[in-house]
């Protein structure tokens, strides 16, 4: 059976629904030997800030049951180095690039976008709004609908490229936040980012991570992510969604599509296995073939009840 894996996130065409998630695929070229980025639906860059960032002290990662907690602290090479060192090659390879953007102030987000606007080859921006908003006392941008809407609106005004907003599962009111992002001008929503979590070393009597808490990802969170995609999809059926959280197999992708996602991102699975995103795309094709799905878009929002 010939399966079409092509999908769209809003008006953006993807050759298949499987993208690499931010923070687990470097700047798109780091894992070329294992997973040629041009064969994925797209790649989301590590979160970029206006200037390079050192990130948090170590330990930054800890394994948990079917998951991991990270507190990388958004270490990155900065938007300038990305545009200079990675973007040209990504363009040459025809990779669908989504730039993950974050800042500690609204201006910082705008700075990253403004720098990116000077170059070709970026399909969309994905705003990571799970970072502490320094001007609002450290509360995450994604936690208050009003703040979020104003951030998104300012970003919207600064670019005609597609704007995705990546929702935080820690936000108090998921659907309100989703709506605020859309009202601010988001073209699509990515969900979910990591869940705030903690690991403790009982012998040392200390938190394992240097920052005490971090973000939980991996298969452990998949049931929560699916529920959130389903919830947002039912509240805002017209809004394109990108499903994220614990995806490890082609069948997992199908689950997210059925819940209402138009595409997905794979994070922790890549940390476990650098070839994962490609393998998962292959498994999705096999799943479709085995179950008579000629066109993967049939699955999107396709729950029968």
């Amino acid at each position: 059976m010939n399966v079409s894996l092509r999908t769209h996130v809003g008006d953006l065409a993807l050759q298949n629904p499987v993208m690499a998630a931010s923070g687990t695929f470097g700047y798109g070229l780091d894992l070329v030997e294992f997973c040629p980025p041009e064969r994925l639906g797209g790649v989301v860059t590590k979160g970029l800030s206006p200037k390079p960032r050192r990130g948090n002290p170590t330990p930054r990662i800890v394994e948990t049951a079917a998951g991991m907690i990270n507190a990388i602290g958004l270490q990155n090479i900065g938007v300038e180095a990305f545009c200079r060192d990675a973007l040209p090659e990504l363009r040459r390879r025809n990779v669908l690039v989504v730039v993950n953007v974050f800042g500690e102030t609204q201006d910082a987000y705008l700075e990253v976008i403004t720098r990116c606007e000077r170059d070709e080859g970026i399909a969309a921006y994905e705003l990571n709004v799970s970072c502490p908003n320094v001007t609002a006392g450290g509360m995450e941008f994604g936690h208050d609908a009003g703040t979020l809407m104003s951030l998104v609106a300012r970003c919207r005004a600064s670019t005609s490229r597609r704007l995705w907003v990546k929702l935080s599962p820690n936000a108090p009111y998921l659907v309100d936040t989703a709506r605020a992002a859309v009202d601010g001008g988001a073209d699509a929503l990515s969900l979910i980012n990591t869940l705030r979590a903690m690991a403790i070393d009982a012998v040392a009597r200390r938190p394992v991570l240097a920052t005490r808490c971090g973000g939980l990802s991996g298969p452990a969170i998949k049931p929560i992510a699916l529920r959130m995609v389903d919830e947002v999809h039912r509240a805002l059926p017209a809004v394109p969604l990108v499903g994220i959280g614990g995806i490890e197999s082609g069948r997992d992708v199908a689950e997210f599509l059925l819940a209402g996602a138009s595409a997905v991102q794979v994070g922790t699975a890549i940390v476990r296995d650098p070839t994962a995103a490609l393998r998962i795309a292959g498994e999705l094709e096999a799943f479709c073939a085995a179950h008579g799905v000629a066109d993967v878009t049939e699955l999107i929002g396709g729950l029968t009840c």
Binding site: E33, K46, T64, N70, I72, T268, I270, D273, P274, T275
Partner: protein, 271 residues
């Protein structure tokens, strides 16, 4: 750089080395070429528990049929190493290797190398020793452990050292074999007595590495340390395993290391 691969492997042999450590031999279907100091990320089974691969230094690689046998020396400390200790022979795993850089092996000129291993830090040092022996590059080998029972692979160490006419120095914390006290003290005594080295290559517990970094700084000895930061991906993308350098940057140990010149590391390593 030597190409990295995700290799399907099978457990073909395992033997006990000490009350806590064992040797694992994995056979691959394709040739592997790796340098001492490089490591691999090994799955410990095929499920989600544990979720992440585990990092192990390569203790040796030799050709076998159309592929290779990769050797590891492993200490059982938790769930992943416990599973590896009890997997049936023939079990299928995946090994991402070779990863990272390696030790700078001397080109044969001038002074000897000092190879220093503490406890389960032996594998990359043993790999280096056997390669140096094969190339006939002179070195001394310092092997330390908590006690006699935890001195691993002494026979192989001795054989390698003998090929190049070097010295094998054993040290145990409890004095149950070789010199009593830390292995770094054994190095220091010889330096103090006038022995000169081109470079020291070391792997072992962090306090040992820090002691050696200090020794290098005091004595003007170039020291290369193989670090062990907790790793998740092993391939430089998650940024979990970073170490701070002298210039303040955080670099991933798995990619820019695991071997670092002690002088490149943040000052607290030498303080």
């Amino acid at each position: 750089m030597i190409a990295r691969h995700d290799l399907p492997v099978r457990v073909i042999a395992r033997s006990e080395l000490s009350p806590t450590c064992f040797r694992l031999e994995l056979v691959t279907g394709e040739p592997v070429s790796a340098a001492p100091g490089q490591f691999g990320m090994l799955t410990c089974g095929d499920g989600l528990d544990p979720l992440l691969r585990r990092a192990f230094s390569l203790a040796g690689v030799r050709p076998h049929e159309n592929g290779a046998i990769v050797e590891m020396l492993i200490k059982e400390v938790g769930r992943g190493t416990g599973l590896l200790h009890h997997l049936p022979l023939g079990a299928a795993l995946r090994l991402l290797a070779p990863l990272g850089n390696g030790f700078t092996l001397a080109d044969g000129s001038g002074d000897r190398l000092a190879l220093v291993a503490g406890g389960i830090g032996l594998p990359p040092v043993l790999f280096a020793a056997e390669q140096l022996a094969a190339r006939n590059v002179a070195f001394d080998l310092y092997l330390g452990a908590a006690s006699s029972a935890e001195l691993l692979e002494v026979g192989r160490c001795r054989s390698a050292v003998e090929v190049v006419g070097g010295e094998l120095v054993l040290a145990t914390d409890d004095g149950s074999r070789g010199e009593a006290g830390f292995v770094t003290a054994a190095v220091e005594r010889r330096l103090a007595a006038g022995r000169r080295y081109l470079r020291a290559l070391a792997c072992g517990p962090t306090p040992m590495l820090a002691a050696l970094a200090r020794l290098g700084a005091t004595r003007g000895l170039e020291v290369e340390l193989s670090l062990e930061e907790p790793m998740a991906c092993g391939v430089g993308v998650c940024l979990g395993c970073v170490v701070e350098l002298e210039d303040g940057r955080f670099v991933p140990t798995c990619k820019e290391g695991p071997v670092f010149a002690a002088s490149r590391l943040a000052a607290r390593w030498r303080a």
